[in-house]
């Protein structure tokens, strides 16, 4: 009954109803768009991190500290026989790290050198370019980011100085055989990659590594007194922290957006309660209880949301389908806003929980904005309400 009455009133309210519905519909579509953008972006980023860097977890040499480049010198340990058999079976990939100094075009730049077996296929790093060609130069692969900072192109030769395990400096000439484009910033801007065997020779550390990337989390059993297991969730900690700040700032923005929409509803309600004082008095005289009248006005506000959902479906569906099928490339400038900078095409996904969450939040907020102003009905005496418009 109340629903029927509320619906009649909304339709009777004409233009103002329409404006409210559109505001709500836009916020709804915007909120859903943002949520699924984030969701899809996070998913993509996680997949990329897995494919390029983390696989299903890693073993770290116990002294390795990613935040302390000086720790690299001592963070290497012999690969155990069990680990070797996993590596030979293609289930694990050892990586050796070292600080190095590069001399691109006569300048001096500290950098990190990473050794990885050229034959590996666990990570997406194009290691096949690291295979020795016998020209006396060491084949090396770098990311587009590092290529830009060092002003290097494919085919360039780069001189590098590294220190071996006994502290003796050695120089080697690298030939840049490939410049890879990785969506993972740490890979794209980070290290210079060469073949593991070659690096072990230069480091005078045959059979040593700093990290072992694992294909499966069950391989955590390969951890021992030299090697600590780092699960993916541990490795994701940094990423998640950046994510949280990003989410917080974006939520703030949309919270504001949502707030403004609620003000519109709130305002409509306050105005309509004022304009309809006499009507409230009449409803009361006709025998409606205060609860029923409050319910009627609240349902009226909520109905805006129901219509907004319908409008949102009509307006939003093409948009959502477009972003789902055609995808979206984050603009480069996004990294300036604190996005981590995974610039790959994002194909939007719309999991049901996101849709329900957005709808839930919007309905909740609308209910509140519709209901709060009606509380004054409870304070309004029917006799005063009836006289309301006569004045």
């Amino acid at each position: 009954m109340i629903l029927k009455l509320a619906n009649r009133n909304i339709i009777g309210n004409g233009k103002r109803s329409l404006i409210n519905m559109f505001i709500l519909a836009i916020v709804l579509v915007g909120l859903l768009w943002m949520m699924s953008m984030f969701y899809s972006w996070i998913n993509l980023s996680k997949t990329q991190l897995k494919e390029w860097e983390q696989a299903e977890g890693m073993l770290w040499q116990k002294d390795y500290d990613p935040y302390d480049a000086f720790s690299f010198d001592k963070s290497l340990a012999p690969i155990s026989t069990d680990q070797v058999s996993a590596i030979n079976a293609g289930k694990a990939v050892p990586i050796l790290l070292s600080q190095a100094v590069a001399y691109p075009q006569g300048r001096m730049m500290p950098t990190v050198l990473k050794g990885i077996p050229y034959s590996q296929s666990l990570l997406k790093i194009p290691s096949s370019y690291l295979k020795d060609t016998g020209d006396g130069l060491v084949p090396a692969v770098i990311g587009t980011g590092l290529a830009k900072t060092m002003k290097l192109e494919k085919g360039d030769i780069l001189t590098l100085r590294i220190k071996d395990v006994s502290g003796v400096y050695d120089a080697l000439d690298l030939s840049i055989t490939h410049i890879m484009r990785s969506p993972v910033p740490a890979i794209d801007n980070g290290a210079i990659w060469i073949d593991l065997d070659t690096m072990q020779q230069y480091m005078a550390a045959p059979g040593y590594a700093s990290q072992i990337v694992l294909e499966d989390s069950s391989l955590m059993s390969l951890a021992d007194e030299n090697w600590l297991y780092k699960s993916r969730s541990v490795l994701m900690k940094d990423f998640n922290e950046v994510l949280q700040t990003e989410l917080a700032s974006q939520s703030l923005l949309f919270g504001l957006f949502l707030f403004l929409a609620m003000i519109a509803i709130f305002d409509t309600q306050v105005l309509s309660l004022f304009k309809r004082r006499k009507e409230i008095g009449t409803l009361s005289a006709l025998g409606m209880t205060q609860q029923q009248i409050i319910g009627l006005f609240t349902v009226e506000g909520l109905l805006y949301m129901v219509y907004a959902v319908l409008i949102g479906i009509v307006l939003g569906l093409p948009l959502f389908l477009w972003f789902g099928i055609k995808g979206w490339v984050l603009p480069d400038s996004y990294s300036d806003f604190g996005m981590i900078g995974f610039t790959e095409t994002i194909y939007f996904k719309y999991p049901i929980w996101i849709i329900l969450l957005v709808l839930g939040v919007m309905f909740g907020a609308t209910a509140l904005a519709s209901w709060l102003p009606t509380l004054r009905i409870a304070r309004l005496k029917p006799t005063d309400a009836l006289r309301g418009k006569l004045k």
Partner: protein, 231 residues
Amino acid sequence: MEDKLVVISKMSKAFPTGEGDFLALKNINLSFAKGEFSGIVGPSGSGKTTMLNIIGSLDSQTEGEVKVMGYEIKELSSKQAADLRSRHLGFIFQTYNLLPVYTVYENVEFPLLLLSMSKEERHKAVMQALEWLGLTDKIKSRPAQLSGGQCQRVAIARAMVKQPGLVLADEPTANLDTENSLHILDMMKKLNQELGTSFIFSTHDQKVIDYLRRVIRLVDGEVVSDDTKAR
């Protein structure tokens, strides 16, 4: 005592104002029987509306007793008062107070929506009320499309549709011309005779006064006379 619909004794109503309380009704002793067609008559500001509001359980007295259909107004919760209005009381206002976005049919149907009635029962009752008031050709119209006289007839149909025991009509002719006034008065009189519905008016319109069987004169919140015409 049985057929007393309303019993008012030693009733006063004070409104708090800036300079202390204002006594709008003073020591009222009145009773209304079933089937009465009576009116509270007095100049503007004499307390007519205040009296009807109290009888209609929209307000309550500050002193004395007011019993409507056996219920003491002062003791009703707001929910009980709403229930009393919904079941037993009909209201007619000077300004009609129709719900503007509803059609004539929907306006008349409204009070029945508050009672648990089936759609068929509602339809029957609404059509009958519209027939009493000669509005069957205006079912789909909205209040804005109707004349004042037609609006007031819709309001009467809305008050009558649930066949309440008592209808309270606050200056129902004040916004109507003579012809329309007489027309609705005829109709209400007829309903009073045929259905036995009691009417209490408030008015200072001589046309209405001429129709009343009982005239209660109110001056400055006090009853100064109470005359029932011989049949």
